[in-house]
Symmetry: C2
Subunit: 221 residues, 2 copies
């Protein structure tokens, strides 16, 4: 039977997975809002970010309570501190989804995204969603192999980001500076979102193996 | 006389202040590199970021060692965990200074910054420098009033950031999309840099008073 202390640890892990679900949904809707110039959906994402922030505060509170009451030993202490870091990453991912939604709202009823970038942005949103979903599974399952996959997903995001800049900076760009600025910022938000997903999965890998993903990947190459 | 434990706590605080010094110098040089298209200076900032990362790792190691050996009580625990968070913010500020330097390097020997934005970027660099210097003083002195000043400095940064966009998006912008993209990203890096400085100072304010800066400021309004 598990004791109350380890039940609270499980509760934190459950809350982190819940954060990944909320953030994934926010990112999916923010990408749609950006592509379809959907102001209502954008508003929903922006106001919904409070729920993500709330779970982060609750995790913080639980961690400090546990630490004060239980004087956890080194291993559990590391788990608790890492939970704070993962919660902070996920909170930031919620902010970034809201930033994308704000970009959509700012130009409404116009769309920020010209036709030739539609599929690139759509794919960036899909990769971002896949990454946060995977990060959630990694937290729940402690699956190291899946945790390492995030590194490859991040390469896919970087490739899409480069493709975005290639279109923006080509001599045939006809959509002016304002759209270029919007897309530069949106691209940056997608890229940072996926960086944070990599951190979250990397933290789990480190807790399970004692090594950072890049160290493990280096050993296999 | 202070015991070994509290000497180690002082050591962490000293390392954090050292990080603010390195990051301030990186930001000063990155801004100059951007304005003067100085590739040598840009390289220096980029390679110098390793020193900032190294101190962050050392702080992390010290904190985990202290926690494992000393089983610190609630107050000291909070100080230690907050130190990790401040170190992470400062590490990120080093990255952002390096990103500005990389923007300068990418366009060398051309300058990214047209004459009409020179003074705005210069001021953004100065505000950023002032903020990280202040954050360092706040860590060293635990001066709450100075910690609260960072909020006002951040408003100054936001104002400069808006001025930047106004110029970029004005119909008289003549410098094309590539420069607009560079400046959009650089502006974002300055803004994020100052956000992190606000966090660092806010963490000190919270450790000293038990309240976040925004709660204190609200009470006075």
């Amino acid at each position: 039977m598990r004791d109350a202390y380890h039940e609270e640890l499980d509760g934190i892990s459950h809350d982190l997975v819940e954060m990944t679900r909320l953030v994934r949904s926010a990112m999916a809707r923010a990408t749609t809002a950006l592509l379809d110039a959907d102001a209502r959906l954008a508003e929903e994402v922006i106001s919904g970010d409070k729920a993500v922030n709330k779970i982060e505060s609750e995790i913080e509170q639980t961690v400090f309570d546990l630490m004060a009451r239980q004087q956890p030993v080194a291993g559990d202490l590391r788990t608790l501190i890492t939970s704070l870091r993962m919660a902070a990453d996920l909170e930031r991912m919620g902010d970034l989804a809201a930033h994308i939604a704000k970009t959509a709202r700012r130009r409404h009823p116009e769309s920020c995204i010209p036709a030739e970038l539609h599929s690139t942005i759509l794919e960036m949103g899909q990769v971002a969603e896949r990454m946060v979903a995977k990060a959630g599974s990694v937290i729940a399952s402690q699956d190291v192999a899946m945790g390492l996959e995030l590194e490859t997903d991040d390469d896919a995001m970087d490739k899409l980001h480069r493709r975005l800049f290639k279109v923006l900076l080509s001599p045939s760009w006809k959509h002016g500076v304002e759209k270029a600025v919007d897309i530069t910022l949106a691209g940056r938000y997608f890229e940072r979102f996926s960086d944070h997903a990599v951190h979250v999965a990397g933290d789990v890998v480190y807790l399970v193996t004692g090594q950072r993903p890049e160290e493990i990947i280096e050993e296999f190459n």
